[in-house]
Structure formats: C-alpha cells, structure tokens
C-alpha cells in the first residue's frame, strides 16, 4: 500500500492545499494500491496506518515558500533527533515524529517524503488563493512521479 496524507485546515484558505491535493490524487483510478487521506493535523494513531505502507508522502502548506512554489523535502529519520520533533500535544505531530514512532512501535520504515506548497493567505475562507490553486496540477504530478519512483 502507498499512502498520501494531505495535511491542513480547509477553512483557513491556503492551509487547505494539502487536502486539495489529496482530493485530486484520490480521483486517480490507475493506482489501485494508493490510499489517500486528508487530515487537519497529524495524530499518533496514524503510526499504525503508516506502518502498513511501503511508501508515504505527506503534503502540507508552507508559509516559508513563495505562494505556489512546490518543493520536496526528504524526511531523514534520526532517533537522536527525537528531542526536536516531539510535541507536548497529541494532535499536531510532525511527519518525522510519526515516522520515528512507526519505526519504534512497529519496525516500519516506509520510503517517505514531504511535499510542501508555498501558501500566503490563511484567513477564514474555503478558497485557495489564485497562485496556490494554479500550483495544484504541478504538485499532483510531482507526487505521482514520486509514487512511480521517477522523482527524488
């Protein structure tokens, strides 16, 4: 099973781009082993699902990139870095924290990547800004190529 997790709040403008990409990927009919989910935040229970995947790609908005810019960030697993990724809360884990938990709890080490899309507007609305909306096909194609093993 290959897993794509779109992260974000669809009620906060561009923050919902991860969920929008997930929606586009969920419509792909030619990848029968692809499982796509969208969630507001990453929670510990996702470790069980991640442990069953051979590949997992997280998709999230980034306020640190220019609007519409798409970037792949490799997720390096280093248990020594646990201190840097742990969270006091139970609702907002980082992708690397989930991967480390999946490894520690289930011995799972799926191939992984984080795809981030530059976002600008996070006010209360359900629409993506124009530049972010235009980046959706590019982000979707990039993830499909990652799933096919064509991009790194």
């Amino acid at each position: 099973m290959r897993l794509v997790i779109g992260i974000g709040n669809t009620l906060r403008g561009d923050d919902g781009v991860g969920a929008a990409v997930a929606q586009q990927l969920a419509a792909q009919q030619h990848l029968p082993d692809l499982r796509v989910i969208a969630c507001h935040q990453l929670t510990p229970e996702l470790t069980a699902l991640i442990s069953q995947a051979e590949q997992v790609i997280f998709v999230d908005a980034s306020a640190n990139l220019s609007a519409g810019e798409v970037k792949v960030i490799p997720l390096e697993l280093d248990l020594a870095d646990l201190e840097n990724v742990r969270s006091l809360t139970t609702h907002d884990w980082a992708p690397a924290a989930l991967l480390m938990a999946a490894k520690a709890l289930y011995g799972a080490q799926p191939r992984s990547a984080l795809v981030v899309i530059g976002a600008q507007h996070f006010e209360h609305c359900e629409q993506l800004s124009e530049s972010v909306r235009r980046a959706l096909p590019c982000a979707t194609q990039l993830i499909l190529s990652l799933l096919r093993g064509e991009a790194h």
Binding site: H40, P44, E45, T47, A48, L82, E83, R86, S87, L88, T89, T90, H91, A97, A101, A104, L105, Y106
Partner: protein, 471 residues
Amino acid sequence: MTQEIIINPVTRIEGHGKITIHLADDGSVADAKFHVTQLRGFEKFAEGRPFHEMPSLMARICGICPVSHLIASAKACDALLGVRIPPVAAALRRVMNLAQIAQSHALSFFYLSAPDLLLGMDSDPSQRNLFGVLAANPQLARDGVTLRQTGQQIIELLGGKRIHPGWLVPGGVSEPLSAEKRDKILAMLPNAIAITRRAIDWFKSILPRFSEEISAFANFPTLHMGMVDQHGNLETYDGYLRIVDADGNIVEDRMTPEDYLKLIAEAAEPHSFLKSPYYRPRGYVEGMLRVGPLPRLMVADRISTPLANAELQEFRQIPERQSSFYYHLARLIEILYAWEEIQRVLNTPDILSDHVRAYAEPNAFEGIGVSEAPRGTLMHHYKIDKNGLITYVNLIIATGHNNLAMNAGVKQVAQRFVHGARLSEGMLNRVEAVIRAFDPCLSCSTHAIGQMPLHIQLIAPNGEVLDEIAR
C-alpha cells in the same frame, strides 16, 4: 501578604488553562485555583440559526468529542420535533457514542496520563510524554494507538468520517448500517477487549506506587452524577439522571432531562471563564458535583456487560475509590464496557433495518437533550420561534460540572505537595496531574483563543522572584 505561584498553561489537557497557588507568609499553601483562560461563544452565536443546523454546529465545539455534542444536540432536536426515533436509530447512536467514549478515554489514559503513570510524577519532564512512553514501554504505546484507532474507525464506519461526522440528524441517523460495516466493526472488538483487559491489569499493578497521589488527588466527599437505565445499570445514551452522595446514598433518582434545571444551577467566578454548576437544592458550593467515568461507576448499581461488571464489583471494594486518581481506572472499565456493549448491540437481529429516521416539522418550542459524554453528563437545551429559528441555547458541559471539584482538588494537592520557597518540577506536575485525572476539555467548555507558554513563578512579598520554572 501572600505569595503566588502560577502554572500557565497546564499541559497535557485538552485546551489551555492555568493554575495559581497562593502562599501564606509561613510558606504554606493558603489557596489554589484552576483558571480557564478561554472565552466561549457558542451559546450566543447559534441564536438565529435554523434548529436543524444545531447538531452540525454544536459538533464544531470540539475536535476531540464532536460525537458527544452531536448526540446531545440531536436528542434536543428530537424533542423539538416531538418524535420518538426508530429503535434501530437509537441503537446506532448508542454505538457511536460508546465508540466516542472509548477513543476519548484511550487518548486521556494512554497519551495524556500514561507518561505520569509509567515514568513517574518526578521523572525527567523532557521524557514525560508519549515519546517517553514509546521508548519505555512500546507495548503500552501500541495498545493506546490501537484502542484509539478502533474507536475512531467505528465512528468513521458509521458516520463517514472520524471528526465531525454528519450522520446523526434530528429524528435519527441519515443512513442504515450495512452488513459489511457491521462485520468490520465486530471483527475489531475481540482484540480491543484483550488490550483493554491488559491495560486494566497493568494499571492495577502500578497502583501501590501512587498511594500518596491516591490520598491527595481530589480525595474528598462530593456528590456524584451520572445516567443509569431503568434497572440502575450504567447508561451512556438514554436514561435517568441519578445523584448519589459520597457514601453512595441516592440523593436524586429517575430524573429526566427535562428535570435538569431543578437539579443544576450555574455560578460564575471572576477568576475563570468556565462556569461552576452545582446541585441546586444544596446551594453553592455545598452542591459540589463530580461527573464522568468515576461518578458514573459511583452511581450505577451494576454494568450490563459481564467483563466490565466484574471490574465494577471489584472497584466497589476499593476503600478510597472517591479519590479522583481512580478516574483513570474508571476510564479503562468504561472502555471495556464500550466494546462489550457495541458487540451486544451489533449482534441484535434487526440492527441492519433501514428504518432509521423519523421525519416531522417542529412540534415544540423547547427541547432538551442529555447524554453521557466521555467527561460526564452533557446537557443541551434549545428554544425556537415559530419559524424554527433558535432563540435560546444553554449548554452545560461535563468539564463545567467538575469545575468546583477540580479547584478543590488543585488546592488539596498543592497543600500536600507544594512547600516553601523552592519549586520542584515533580511537585508542580502533581498539581497539573490532578487536573489531568478529570480529563477536562476546555475547548468544549469554552472557546479557544490562543496558547501561552508555561511559566511558573514563586514571588516573595517584596517582589523578589524566589523561584521560577518555564517550559
């Protein structure tokens, strides 16, 4: 002149609050208070909305227990419609409420409190979190993940999604249960039951380490409120309200949701946005109540499922069972009950019936819905005008019922564990942990407006900072 210690925010609870500890001149604790620093608005901004929107609107109060609000809200709307919903719809709502209780209790026990229970109250705070549990006892962490996931999957199978499912509607539920979904749920339950029994055994094995906490974690007499069925069994979806005193004597029984205003009044304190409900006939503050898993076990004569009932009867033999430290054990017993009861309900012959919704126009101007949420008795009370628009909303949330007891509990713990001019981390963790035992949901009982960093200061009468801890 008194000194003051502030813990802000309290960590590993749902929402944001702070604790202040007021010291007397001799360094002893004179008083302590739990402050909820969030502002609530749902009762006001629902006014003017069509009543049928209320279940979906009210579910947005919280991302942890949206199902609880859906249940109470749908029941209040049933009362506005004046309908008796189809029995299968009630059974399916019951299943979803039980799954909600189980997944929320699993979050509280395994994610929020297990770090204290496994690693110790005085352990290194940088390890005292779920990652610390994961490193020290991976089996316990896996069990927590599985139980929470099981509850969430049941909610998702029934309602279409884990958070904010729109399946519960006024008059029943929007879709019947399929055989495929029923079988998927039933297949998950034996493992969930085995895990829960293992967790109960583990918790009992560590109890001797926490004798001091048991004796001081809100260990005092209060009233206890919860729902029971017509035979006195533990009930979570639809039953009668019962109140017992600290000795188990029944103070109120067979009270219906419509009676709630005879039972409960609400006070406001200047130090908190969270109101303080109390048992009206005894007045403020003698009417201090507790609700939630521990009080539900206090009010119930028995549990209708065998494994959980055996645990309840054993629980009744514990001399200090009124200590709020036993909320943890009560939570695990209720998880066990949830899985057993879901099994029973899903094995009833007509559970796949497609008659799951009653349709009607509003037939009453006022409706009250009461159910048991993970944290205790939840009350929704609505009034509408002739056009079906909401004119009045009163919500009494489980966390609110516990407010007086939480404040008294913080004071009791502070008086036992906080001494002198130096603060220890473990001392302050215990003050937080008594709040965690109640598992308050401040998102439900208020409305979040932000988060502040943890900062604890002990300040002398002359303004000198005697000690300071920041997280």
